[in-house]
Amino acid sequence: MKSLIVKDLHVNIGDREIVKGLSLEVERGKVHAIMGPNGSGKSTLAKVIAGHPDYAVTGGEVLMDGENILAMEPDERARKGVFLAFQYPMEIPGVTIANFLRAAVQARMPEGEELEATEYYYRLYEKMDALEIPRTFTSRSVNEGFSGGEKKRCEILQMAMLAPAYAVLDETDSGLDIDALKIVSNGVNTLRGPDVGILLITHYQRLLDYIVPDFVHVMVNGKIVLSGGKELALELEARGYDWVTKDEPEPATV
């Protein structure tokens, strides 16, 4: 089965170790959720998978369908099928969503092949309708002046257009009210399918009411300390993170 495999991953920022020997396998067609308290290294994991230059991988591997992607530039990983929905999407002043996405779609096409404009807009509008995004959105600059909900919807729209093999959603629920959360969750649910593996990173169980995961992992202090089915999320919600941190004796080895 095709999957994204994280093997004994160690990550530093400067001299400080943030991820301390983490292993995980996300199969295509499955949704994995990683939950954990603030500062556990969840977002670091997301950025390392995407290839953020600020993080130093000091050990381990990230294999995408069998290929180690750690030596690749972020854009190469992206074109191979890794997508990261950002917790804090960046503003790109003056660049419209339509132009940005067009450049991104074009970047995935073989050299010398030009994206057909009408076909592109047809697809774009189709995805926007599904996400309840008004057409006027396309002429706005990427994330500039967007509300929290608009930013997250824009991330999901990009995911829909770029059809990744593996999508990492970093705190996609943060800053969303309940209506926006429903729309975004619906968007993610329509993108679920046998061709994509999804890794949901979240602090709260709330998101998992709407996007029901196949597996739940608890991350504490740079490692996964507990894994289980979707019911694990509910247990965490009821008992708090203290429950798992107490269960896990320090120091842990993987």
Binding site: E73, A78, M90, I92, G94, V95, F100, A103
Partner: protein, 470 residues
């Protein structure tokens, strides 16, 4: 936000980096003396008054010091004795496209001027070296009574119009380089639009430097008579040469009562060109003058398009984009001289500095005490790409009296590493991400350029930015 330090860059300038064998029928040799000027006047067959005008300008030029005290010491590199001041193919302006020499058509080809733009060339004045090679006014324009000729033709055939305004907007002694231009000018356009005539097609000129050590000194004078409208477009690319090349143009615009002039420039000089240009307009009552200016390339560009708002309710505007690549200095800005009540001016300037590039905004807004109801708006935004890039802003705004409104906004921004990462995460290479961000930064101004120029502009920015990372 963190700013990523980047290695020095190699800009791919292949776009303008080629030249063809020189064939110059007339050549004034190198250096500048009264004999040089006599030679130019004789070869061009100009009248006596121009001979005197030029000789006097030469004296003014020689008496003025190099303006290094406020601008750039780099000007000291210029050696006026090494420059060739006049050079021509000795051809009369060509009437039709078929008559244009094949090697020049090839030049257009290499510059990627799109096919649909060729038809625009039917109404174009194209300058290669110092003579207009191709000057063919579209028939419709000619029928409207519009005069669109080279500056030499203008002064010989239309002295009554030409003499009235020539050197009046920008006097010879305005600065050292306007004096130099007044002494040795050749090429450029003379345009007269009769009262009430609205010229539908933009009038275009392509300039090109094509000889080593050859300075180009074109002189353009545009007169839009009462209630008329005209748009003029010029685009420049230059091949790369080993030694410094001087380009020093003078452009004078006169907008009579209620007239509208738009002057559009897109320039892409090679790294060794000194581009020292004086551009100014006089706007009479209720007239509108708009300078749209894009400066890419050159070693040093000094250019501050200005409008003297001479009549009540006149309007002046300068929209400018400057891209200073590695080792380049773009010292650009605007001058708005309010000389009547209820006049308004608007300046929007955006600059991008790459590598060790330096962009300077230098502005002057002047509203004297006795005027009422004048307005000025100035916005200047700078974008720095690398940590070695530099930008400076020198806005000189003098407003006296009461009842005038002035506002000034300036910003400096950077493309953050996080923005680049975000775009890379969507599959764009670092170079593509840079390019897209820079195009985004200037996007609102680029939209104001005519369609074919905005496409060309985007391509020029792409070319500059693709090589700016790595």
């Amino acid at each position: 936000m963190p700013v990523e330090a980047k290695a020095q860059i190699e800009i791919d300038r292949t776009y303008g980096d080629f030249s063809y064998p020189e064939q110059h029928a007339y050549d004034a040799g190198v250096g500048l003396t009264p004999e040089t000027i006599e030679y130019i006047v004789d070869v061009k067959g100009e009248p006596q008054w121009i001979r005197e005008f030029r000789l006097k300008a030469l004296e003014t030029f020689q008496s003025k010091p190099m303006p290094t005290h406020w601008a750039s010491k780099d000007l000291n590199v210029l050696n006026f004795d090494d420059i060739r001041y006049y050079l021509a193919h000795g051809q009369r302006p060509t009437r039709s496209w078929d008559d244009v020499p094949a090697e020049m058509k090839e030049t257009f080809e290499r510059l990627g001027i799109p096919e649909q733009e060729r038809k625009f060339l039917a109404g174009v004045e194209a300058q290669f070296d110092s003579e207009a090679v191709y000057s063919n006014i579209k028939k419709a324009v000619g029928d409207q009574g519009v005069i669109f000729v080279g500056s030499t033709d203008g002064l010989i055939k239309h002295p009554e119009l030409f003499r009235k305004w020539f050197g009046k907007v920008i006097p010879t002694g305005d600065n050292k380089f306007s004096a130099l231009n007044s002494a040795v000018f050749s090429g450029g356009s003379f345009i007269y639009v009769p009262p009430g005539v609205k010229v539908k097609h933009p009038l275009q000129a392509y300039f090109r430097i094509n000889a080593e050590n050859f300075g180009q000194f074109e002189r353009t004078l545009i007169i839009a008579d009462e209630g008329s409208e005209v748009m003029y477009m010029e685009g420049c690319t230059a091949p790369k040469f080993e030694t410094a090349t001087l380009h020093s143009a003078v452009v004078e615009l006169v907008a009579m009562r209620g007239a509208k002039i738009q002057y559009v420039t897109v320039q892409n000089w090679s790294n060794n060109v000194f581009n020292l240009v004086t551009k100014r307009a006089i706007a009479h009552e209720e007239a509108e003058v708009k300078w749209i200016d894009c400066n890419i390339g050159s070693r040093l560009t000094m250019k501050y398009p200005g409008v003297v708002l001479k009549g009540r309710k006149a309007r002046g505007e300068v929209i400018s984009i400057a891209l200073a690549g590695d080792g380049q200095h773009q010292d650009t800005g605007a001058k708005m001289i309010h000389a009547a009540s209820e006049t308004t001016s608007n300046i929007v300037s955006k600059s991008i500095s790459v590598g060790t590039g330096r962009a300077t905004y230098r502005g002057m807004v002047h509203v004297p005490r006795h005027l009422k109801g004048c307005k000025n708006n100035t916005e200047c935004d700078a974008l720095l790409i690398n940590t070695t890039s530099r930008t400076d802003t020198y806005p000189a705004i003098t407003v006296r009296g009461t009842g005038n409104a002035v506002q000034h906004e300036a910003s400096v921004s950077q493309i953050s590493a996080e923005q680049i990462f975000y775009m890379q995460q969507r599959g764009l290479t670092e170079g593509q991400a840079m390019s897209l961000s820079v195009n985004g930064f200037v996007n609102d101004l680029v939209r104001q350029f005519p369609m074919e120029y905005s496409v060309e502009l985007k391509r020029l920015i792409d070319l500059e930015m693709e090589g700016s990372v790595g």
